[in-house]
């Protein structure tokens, strides 16, 4: 049987692409398919699970299928395009560079190069697998001739039971209404809009409402500005920034939260939406990127993000238990519709189909 190998610029634990890559390897191996992970650079914590990508040249078999986990710029993109083996792009969304332009020139340049690389490799790929219809449209626009949609595998994982001591601490600092915003502290995630809306909510309705922001400071200037902004609005004690927390601690955040507020301007999938639906937390989200297709008819989908409009929506879903129930109506059905549980099976089948078709589009 042909081997299906994955290529990822760097393999990280606690990283959506890294965890997805390792999960896919496990699924392939469970099917009896030989599968290695090659990377451009080693991560000390996963170095024993990866090989340098140039090593593949000595190990290559003509029947192999090469899967490129595309999320960032990498020297591997051009190199993979020159291989004789069929190439599958597993696309994880690239944040457009314009979001970073006011904040970080270096990242802006990297994201620009990343989009150029996508346009370079997409036309040469046998298959492009996107994590959402939104991402599929980007793949098609980049010239990918054949595409499928399979949700990111990390969306299928269930959070462990909440960390009780951490939850008690969260309760002790929580206000009458607790908002939760989950996502990297990067400009496209628009956490600042959640802070502005919290301010409006406190001024108009609930002076003791609080916000928990969970996310690593992916763009340090933006992250610093968020703290500065909260302080400038007098919300220094009302907005808590949490980073590097465990999954059990994240579960505690969902447990204490009255609402998940996701105002991202660009979202390739939105794993927190799935987590919130599973944890029974009402959602107020902006209709951008893949958010609409992931959310379906669940929660409140906003066309615009004016602070008062967001605050009003939050009030509407978190006012009482009835409102909460209404906001969560259809969540189970939507989770079924997303077919997240079968994502691994579908992903493996798609790759095996490429292998079975001898590198032709299945």
């Amino acid at each position: 049987m042909a081997a299906i190998h994955q290529f990822v610029p760097m393999l990280h634990h606690h990283d959506a692409v890294g965890e997805h890559t390792m999960a896919l390897q496990a699924l392939l191996r469970a099917e009896g398919v030989a599968s290695k992970i090659y990377s451009e650079l080693p991560d000390p914590h996963t170095a024993d699970r990866t090989s340098p990508y140039l090593d593949y040249e000595a190990e290559a078999d003509p029947g192999d299928v090469l899967v490129y986990q595309f999320a960032t710029e990498s020297a591997m993109a051009g190199w993979l395009l020159q291989r004789d083996q069929p190439l599958v792009i597993n696309y994880h969304s690239v944040t457009p560079p314009r979001f970073f332009a006011p904040w970080n020139l270096g990242i802006t340049q990297i994201q620009t190069a990343c989009l150029q690389e996508l346009a370079m490799v997409a036309p040469g790929a046998t298959l492009g697998i996107a994590v959402s219809e939104f991402d599929r449209a980007e793949l098609r626009e980049a010239g990918c001739p054949s595409t499928e949609v399979v949700p990111v595998l990390t969306a299928g994982r269930h959070l462990p039971p909440a960390d009780a001591p951490f939850g008690r601490w969260l309760q002790s600092v929580a206000g009458s209404t607790t908002w939760l915003s989950v996502g990297r502290l990067a400009p496209n995630k628009s956490h600042h809009l959640a802070i502005a809306a919290l301010f409006a909510h406190r001024m108009a309705t609930d002076p003791s409402a609080t916000l928990i922001v969970v996310g690593s400071p992916a763009e340090p200037h933006y992250a610093a500005a968020l703290r500065h902004y909260a302080a400038q609005l007098g919300l220094g004690d009302a907005v808590r920034f949490l980073s590097g927390i465990s999954e059990a601690e994240l579960a505690a955040c969902y447990e204490v939260a009255d609402v998940l507020v996701m105002l991202s301007a660009h979202e390739g999938f939105g794993v927190p939406l799935v987590e919130a639906m599973r944890q029974g937390v009402p959602i107020v989200a902006r209709d951008a990127g893949a958010v609409g297709e992931v959310l379906g008819n669940v929660g409140v989908l906003l066309a615009s993000t004016g602070p008062l409009e967001v605050a009003t929506a939050v009030q509407g879903v978190s006012g009482d238990s009835e409102a909460r129930e209404r906001a969560l109506a259809g969540a189970d059905e939507q989770l079924q519709r997303l077919a997240i549980a079968s994502a691994g099976k579908r992903l493996v089948e798609a790759l095996l189909a490429v292998a079975g078709a001898g590198g032709q589009s299945p």
Binding site: P102, G306, P307
Partner: protein, 336 residues
């Protein structure tokens, strides 16, 4: 860009929402836009220094040896998203460095005394910049330390009581038909703005407390931010008058003087500059002791303001004592 994707990177000029928010909401969002670093002095300085002297990121505390053939600092170069030099590039860079070293040695020998002097001058200028950067960092750390520990300190001190002066304003300023507007920083509840507007003046406010701006029912003429920062945005010589209150009680002494000079530079000849300092005793009575201990500054005596005004070159300096149970003095001067 997909239709359903609004662009709001939070940076200057970026539209925040699909539908225009109210004036108060827009101001709330503009505050964040102004925090974007691109274009700030600190950002530009660091970016320039970074280009002049590129440094690899610091090595993490614990690393594993990289694969044979890769440079030893490969991990220190960070995540893949930051990779700019790769394996092949590293080899080429090493060879290029060797060649460049030889070339530099040859060039140095060939260069004359003038080239040597130029190099020394460049090195001296470069060192001066680095030392300047260190001094700046220290100054900034010193100025930030209390604010970092007590971010809400400014909210603990009493608000300047400026209302009683509203009816006197007409006597201080040039006629309202004069070109240019009047700025009040900090405009608080907007009572002075309303009084001046009723007299026919074009007025704008600057207010650092978001809840005050919000409570002002979205007065589009009020900008949310620190007075020194926002007044600095105004073109030189544009204003017919400046009123300062509140902030001039809390700022440290250099901050007070800097703001006074800033106000002066933004006004036209003949314009009026007024400060409304809270009476020192009233300020002490109304402030928590922690705020008194930790606040960077406290109100100056009106006599001191009069001296400052005279020193910076304002004419016709007058001191008005509090009236009608008010707690603030007024010191008024005219720009020559």
């Amino acid at each position: 860009m997909p239709d359903n994707e609004a662009d709001d990177a939070g940076g200057p000029g970026a539209p925040a929402t699909d539908h225009a928010p109210s004036a108060a909401e827009a101001e709330l969002l503009d505050v964040f836009s102004r925090l974007a670093p691109a274009g700030t002095h600190r950002w530009n300085f660091q970016e320039s220094m970074g280009r002049l002297n590129p440094q690899p990121p610091p090595a993490p505390a614990a690393v594993v040896p990289p694969w044979e053939g890769l440079p030893p600092d490969v991990w220190a170069r960070g995540r893949s998203a930051q990779v700019g030099q790769r394996m092949v590039g590293d080899v080429l860079a090493a060879v290029a460095d060797l060649l460049a070293t030889d070339a530099r040695a040859a060039a140095t020998e060939a260069a004359g005394a003038q080239a040597q002097a130029d190099r020394q001058q460049f090195t001296a200028a470069w060192d001066a910049l680095r030392y300047l950067a260190v001094r700046l960092e220290r100054l900034e750390r010193r100025s930030d330390v209390v604010a970092d520990l007590f971010p809400d300190l400014a909210r603990d001190v009493p608000e300047a009581d400026v209302g009683p002066w509203a009816e006197h304003l007409a006597h201080w300023f040039t006629p309202p038909e004069a070109e240019g507007s009047v700025i009040h920083g900090e405009s608080g509840d907007g009572s002075l703005l309303r009084a001046l507007r009723a007299l026919g003046y074009q007025v704008r406010g600057i207010e650092p407390r978001a809840e005050r701006v919000w409570a002002g029912a979205g007065d589009p003429t009020v900008t949310l931010g620190e007075v020194t920062d926002r007044l600095g945005d105004v073109a030189d010589g544009e204003l017919a008058g400046v009123i300062l209150s509140g902030c001039i009680d809390r700022l440290d002494l250099p901050g007070k003087l800097l703001l006074t000079e800033l106000a002066l530079s933004k006004t036209t000849p003949g314009a009026t500059v007024a400060v409304l300092p809270t009476d020192q005793q009233a300020f002490a009575d109304a402030s928590p002791v922690t705020a008194l201990d930790l606040a960077p500054g406290r109100p100056l005596h009106p006599e001191t303001w009069s001296a400052v005004f005279a020193r910076v070159g304002l004419a016709d300096v007058r001191w008005h004592r509090p009236e009608g149970g008010g707690l603030t003095h007024a010191v008024v001067g005219r720009r020559r």
